[in-house]
Each structure stands twice: as structure tokens, then as C-alpha cells.
Amino acid sequence: MKISRESLQKYFETPLPDIAELANAFTFHVFEIDSIEGGVLDVKVLPNRMSDCSTEAGIAAELSAILDLPLKNAPKVAPASISIRISLARINGILGSDFSRDEVEDVFRRLRFGVSSESDVFLITPPSDRSDLEIPEDIAEEVGQILGYDRVPATELPSTNKVSDQARYRGIEKIKDFLIEKGFTEISTQSFAKKGDVYLANPLDKTKPALRKSLDENIQEAIEKAKQYAPLVLAPNEKPKLFEIGTIFTKDGEKLAVETSEPVPGLPEIQDDEKYQPKRYHLGAYKPFSLYPFITRDIALWLPSGADDGLTISIIKENAGELLIRLDQFDRFEKEGKTSLAFRLVFQSFDRTLTDDEVNTIMQKITEALTEKKYEVR
């Protein structure tokens, strides 16, 4: 709901804080502010508060409680016909806070609650426009919101004697580690399919109205693409192999399936294994890939005396420039005291399709630089 500072001010004698502070007051005590534009707040009234906060006057009344500022013409609201019992200890027992009786009673006053108490239990009658308040937890929430959740401490859970159970999860991860060790890479694919045993009533993609009943089709599609992209991510002697572990939906119900791009001898069944420690990986930053085609070239050469692999690689990189995105050494042998190396070069641009001519020119430059340094390019 859009509301300006000026229109809110009409409800108050005291000048209201500036718009940024008002936005913070709403955000941290009741409703998120979607935007502030030209002095107008877009207040995202939560669904449970539509009964009292769908009008300017309602928003102003809430603001009056948050800022503890009196309303100019406070409307008389009849008390609700219910009352809610809650003790101070229960409020603090829900919030994990240490609020005093005075603080909590002050919140009740600001929210126009009718309050009586029987020893340590408050008997609260909310105003009738607060139909969202029904149970003790609702009252605890009001206290937390008005006093501010920044006053709720961060307390760690006590240590527990109850043994945790991660056996099923660890059993699944064990299969993943088994496959990764065998050179398979894990992928994740869409659960929606063209055909299946179970259909959606309201599909998003009309061409895929069903739930997958096997992972096979997605793996086949993915491995075809992976073969095409292999030079971008794998060395020349490596072959892409993929697997997915995911839910499939059949006539007999859903189950977890394991699918690989080629048969895996000795692939175990998934079994619970609490003792298994899944291997931990630490990923570096993500480097986006180019959507343009790439071009590969191979080069084989005899090294002059005194040259080594490292020097050779640096000469190639220096002369290849920025379009070289990957360099793999795939062969090395020695014959009659001379060393031969072979490399695969992958070229790709982030903003255009490279031409063969362009890459040939780069290769020419690399060849010339190597020849000049007494390499014999074959």
C-alpha cells in the first residue's frame, strides 16, 4: 500500500521522523517497505494484518504504537470478545529474551490492549480490529516486533545427548563419491518431461507437462552436449562421463534413481551409512563461460636444447593472446636426446564467433615465435 509521509503526518501532532527513518521503523517493527519513491512509502502489509492495516488510518495507528506517538484523533475501537492468557515468563520463553514486566506492559499500552493480571499471568483483550491476535504466541510476536528483534539475543542450542541421524544422506553421497572417483561428473536436470506416468494439472512449460519417470533421457541429452563441450573443460585424453541422482515419478510412486552416461561395473546400491564421511570440496569463484563457438588447434614440436615444458607453455601463451582460453599438453616423448611436446589449444571469444582465418593467424604467430627460438614445429 502506497502512503506518503505527509498523509501519515495528518494523524499526528508531533512531527514524524524523516522518510528513511519511517521506512526503518516499519521494516524492523512490522512491515517491509518495497520502495521509497518521491516521499511515498510502498508498505507491504502482511496478509494477516489486512483486517486493521489496509487503510491509511490503520497504518497510522500501527506507526503510533511503533514510535510511541499519540494519534491526533485516536478512534475508539471496541475491545475484542476474546481474551488471551500469557505470562511474562512464557513471552520470554518463546522469544528467548529477558524483557521486564514494565517493558512488556508498555508494549500492551502502545498497542491499546486491555490488560488485567492474575498474579504473573496477563489477561489480554486486544482491540476488535486486531482479529489476527488469537493465541499467546501472537502476543509474544507483538512484544518482539515492537521492542525489536535486535533485542533478542543469539543463543546457541545446548549440546544434546541425542545422536543425530545422517545415515540416508551419507549413503547417497557415498555413491556420488564412488562415481566421481571413476571419472563421472554430477549434473542436475529438470524434473519435468514430455511424457511420464504423472502429469501436472497446471504445467508451466506446456511442452513438458509430465514428471520424469526416468533420468535416462536427460542424461542422454546432457552427454551429447558434454561431448561437444568437452575440449572446453577436459584434457584431450579425458572423456566426459556424467551421472545424476534424482527423484523419478512412476506409477508405483516416486523413488530416487541413479543414472550414468555409460554402464558402471560394480556400482553399489544406495544404502544407509552413518559412518561414511562424504568428501568435502571447496569451490573457487565462478567463471562464466562464453556462449560463442570455440575452435581447437593442435601443435607438436621438438624442443631446442635448454628449453623445457614451462618455457614452451609461456611462449605459446604470450603469443596466443586473450582468445586462448585453454591449453592442454597431451603428449611428451624423448627420442635421440630430443624432447617432443604436443598441445591442444582452445580459442573462444566472449563477444563474437571466431573465424578459422583469425585462429590461423594466431597459430602462425605462435609458430613463428617458436621457430625463432629454435623450436622445430611439426
Binding site: A89, G96, K162, S191, A222, V233, G284, A285, Y286
Partner: protein
């Protein structure tokens, strides 16, 4: 032979399971094709409840009672049901898993994504909103770095009361720090405790849940959420070389 790569979602779930494991949390699984009770009604989201309109749900043809789960809180209530059957009062569980929302896809929205939901319950007064704050603070510090801190903002969910949004302060490498909305959370609504077969006068606790891809996008600088479940090998290989961590060096 060369090793394959683990998908970044699995990498993340392993780290998350480890951190929560050290705080005594189990890891639970549950069905993706869920019944109305465990996805909605049992979570205090009856038909026509305003919270149902907050989520766009995939319904199943010819099975009126079935939905694709919109959150993993469905697994949480199933775990609470198990606790009730065992006659227990104490549990700590996280449930990472795929969830579904019927919304148009773009760079930041996918119709299927991962969520990590979790909860802790104990005898009345022993598990509080302050414990939620303490648990999530420790989690984000261990997961994102020692500078991470969290804050709560008021919110509304059917299955919690009080309800909060959780923001985490995070400084991505080489960038300015900012608050990131990461999770919805709160104290289980007594109706949920009751629906699971437990007594809300005896058992209470917190629950939380948030999307995983969003967090990873910020942590690693991933530009498009649709990459995660594209089956594209270039995505899985798109991270600077992975090193195995704590247990083994490769």
C-alpha cells in the same frame, strides 16, 4: 584416471550438513510429490489461507490431494510426526531438497530449486527464538565467513508464530558488503505441533527454510539461476579448481 566433479548443490549440502551436524542436527528426506496435508493443511495453511496465495503451486492431474512440494517444511512435519510416534520431545533436523514453484523463469527465478529447511524442538521454553538466532548466526559464520551476521525482520508464515525474515550480512570477495534476505523462519505455530501429534503445551521450537541457489549465486558470483539444473557440464566445471578439503587432499 581423472576424477569427475561434484555438482555445486551437493558441495553446498555437504558443507551445510557438516555444520548443522556439529550442532546435533540429523538430515532427513521426504517425498517431492507431497500430499496436501504435509505441504499445507498440517502446516497451518488450510484451504483459502492467505499463505497459499503467496506460493504458486504445481498441482497434479487427477490426484486432487497431491502437489509438488513448495518447501521442505513438509519434511519437517513428517519428522515431527515420527518424533510423536516415538514418544519423544526433542529433535533437530535439516532437510535439503528440491522444491517447486509455478512461476515464470528468468535469471533469478526457477520453477525448481533447492531449499534447506530445518527445525529444533524441545520441551516448552528450552528452544526459543534466541536459539534460532544463535543457530543461524553460527551457521552463516561457518558457511560464509566470520564477518557474517544476521538480523530478523517481522514476517508472516502460516506455520510459524512469531515469524521472521532472516537477513545475513555478507561481503562477497572483492565487493561491498550487503544484507541479503536468506531465509524465512520463526517459532513453530502450535497448530503445526498439534497436527504432528505432539502437545503444544509441552513441545515448542523453531523452524527455518531458505533457497540454496540464491545463496550460492552470491557466494560464488553465479549470474543465472537456470544454470544449476541445466545439465550443462560447463557449469559444473565453471568454478576455479576445486580442492578437496578437510578429509583428504587430492
Amino acid at each position: 584416471m581423472h576424477e569427475g566433479r561434484l555438482h555445486p548443490i551437493s558441495v553446498a549440502i555437504r558443507e551445510i550438513a557438516d555444520i548443522f551436524g556439529r550442532m546435533g542436527f540429523s538430515v532427513a528426506q521426504g517425498p517431492e510429490l507431497e500430499d496436501d496435508f504435509h505441504n499445507f493443511t498440517g502446516l497451518n495453511i488450510p484451504p483459502n489461507h492467505p499463505a497459499r496465495s503467496m506460493q504458486d503451486t504445481f498441482w497434479i492431474k487427477d490426484q486432487k490431494d497431491k502437489v509438488l512440494r513448495t518447501h521442505c517444511t513438509s519434511v519437517s512435519i513428517r519428522a515431527l510426526e515420527n518424533l510423536a510416534k516415538e514418544g519423544g520431545v526433542e529433535a533437530r533436523v535439516i532437510s535439503p531438497g528440491k522444491v517447486f514453484r509455478n512461476e515464470a523463469t528468468d535469471m533469478t527465478h526457477e520453477a525448481q530449486f533447492y531449499q534447506v529447511d530445518g527445525f529444533a524442538v524441545g520441551t516448552l521454553g528450552t528452544v526459543t527464538l534466541a536459539h534460532l538466532k544463535g543457530t543461524l548466526t553460527r551457521f552463516y559464520r561457518e558457511y560464509l565467513g566470520a564477518d557474517a551476521k544476521i538480523r530478523f525482520r517481522p514476517s508472516f508464515f502460516g506455520f510459524t508464530e512469531p515469524s521472521v525474515e532472516v537477513d545475513v550480512w555478507f561481503v562477497p570477495p572483492g565487493k561491498e558488503g550487503r544484507w541479503l534476505e536468506v531465509s524465512g523462519a520463526g517459532m513453530f505455530h502450535p497448530n503445526v505441533i498439534r497436527a504432528a501429534g505432539l502437545d503444544p503445551e509441552k513441545v515448542a521450537g523453531f523452524a527455518f527454510g531458505g533457497g540454496l541457489e540464491r545463496l550460492l549465486m552470491v557466494k560464488y558470483g553465479i549470474p543465472d539461476v537456470r544454470l544449476f539444473h541445466s545439465g550443462d557440464i560447463r557449469f559444473v566445471y565453471g568454478f576455479l579448481p576445486a580442492q578437496t578439503g578437510d578429509e583428504k587432499k587430492v
